[in-house]
Subunit: 219 residues, 2 copies
DNA sequence: ACCTGAACACCGTTCAAGT
DNA sequence: ACCTGAACACCGTTCAAGT
């Protein structure tokens, strides 16, 4: 019965973990990222210590939620890969992603900045990029997207729009739609347009992420 | 001599204020926004209490610095208004602004989100928008920018790029240049292109800012 | 094994006491 | 008038004691 008892134990622990994730997701959404861990633990019906047993740090609790959300996006994107119109598929995904950012504002606030240093988030990020790369490649083959952009360029535009609509909540979602239209205009091939400057950023460029250090303007 | 003595007092206080701002700017740049107020006060050579006499809150200290930076941008933009090529003037300003965001990352992190609720920042923001509006109008009159975008649309794109390069530090500044090229492509008029959806966001739409509340996805 | 909550460390903010 | 630093409140994190 040793295995059985272990499984029972695990079930308890697993249930606590889920409860914590659910409580945290809900409270972060309702009141932003600075709700206290004490309150989260209380809402989940466990002690503070249990929270820190599952997520050694508040940041890692947030990361776990963000990873969940990103996985959903990747799944949606993989589905879009089946589409017969790759251009529309790409722009549809961008719409979806921005919609997600609109509805989970607090969480997306966390993705930026230092959180990229987080191991789990980086893994999820890599998966997302891989999918996006394929989607962009097909859209380019179909002539719906200019050839000189890379998936990283597209991801940056997407993230830019996602971030900015957080700060312009009062004009969104109308403005978000317009920003997406502008992204589309930027990505649409145009004969005779000047090519993008610089080197196409690749996935590998991102791999060497590491924590971002603040910096100063030169004196 | 009462006035004289008051002025002497004020000079002391003013000097302390400047020292605090300088110390804070430097330390935020070097080590990010979470340096402690105690350390800032120490570096400025004053007591903690003096810091809070000048800036009732750490947030307001940050806001004061941000306002300084925004004023610089506005000044630059006003200068650009004199240019004989309004289109180039606009794109030049966007380049400058993104460069600023690149070199003062920590500070721009603060501009977003809740900080828009800050009174001083909103005033500076309004000035910036007024200037940008004039710049966009002239660029449109010169045929360098599509007619269906508003200054708010442009500001949002600018802010989007500024935000996103913070998170992609390792591919910047090359990627930043490319993002600016894409913004330019999006703004350049193109015959036969579909117009932007929705209503053109105006300055007044932003006026009713207020603190942003976090929100949830519908169940 | 896993859980709990008292205790700790840290940091923004206040305020009584100085000059 | 302005400054100072001890004291307070708050919150993330740890850990000895329970089951």
């Amino acid at each position: 019965m040793e295995e059985g008892s272990t499984r029972t134990r695990r079930a308890d622990a697993e249930r606590n973990r889920r409860r914590l994730l659910d409580a945290a997701t809900e409270m972060f959404c309702e009141r932003g990222l600075d709700v206290g861990v004490a309150e989260i633990a209380q809402r989940a019906g466990v002690g503070r210590g249990t929270l820190f047993r599952n997520f050694p740090t508040k940041e890692q609790l947030i990361a776990a939620i963000v990873v969940d959300r990103m996985s959903e996006s990747v799944a949606r994107g993989r589905a879009a890969l089946e589409s017969s119109d790759p251009g529309e598929a790409l722009f549809w995904l961008l719409d979806q992603a921005v919609g997600l950012a609109l509805s989970d504002r607090a969480l997306f606030a966390a993705i930026g900045d230092e959180y990229l240093a987080n191991e789990e988030i980086r893994t999820a990020h890599a998966e997302l990029l891989e999918m996006l790369e394929e989607l962009v490649r097909r859209a380019q083959a179909a002539g719906a997207v200019r050839d000189d952009v890379s998936a990283v360029d597209v991801l940056m535009m997407l993230k830019g729009v996602s971030e900015v609509i957080k700060s312009f909540q009062h004009v969104a979602p109308d403005a978000a739609m317009r920003q997406l239209d502008l992204v589309r205009a930027a990505l649409t091939p145009r004969p005779g347009a000047p090519p993008l400057r610089g080197r196409r950023p690749t996935v590998d460029d991102l791999a060497e992420a590491g924590p971002v250090s603040p910096n100063c303007r030169p004196a």
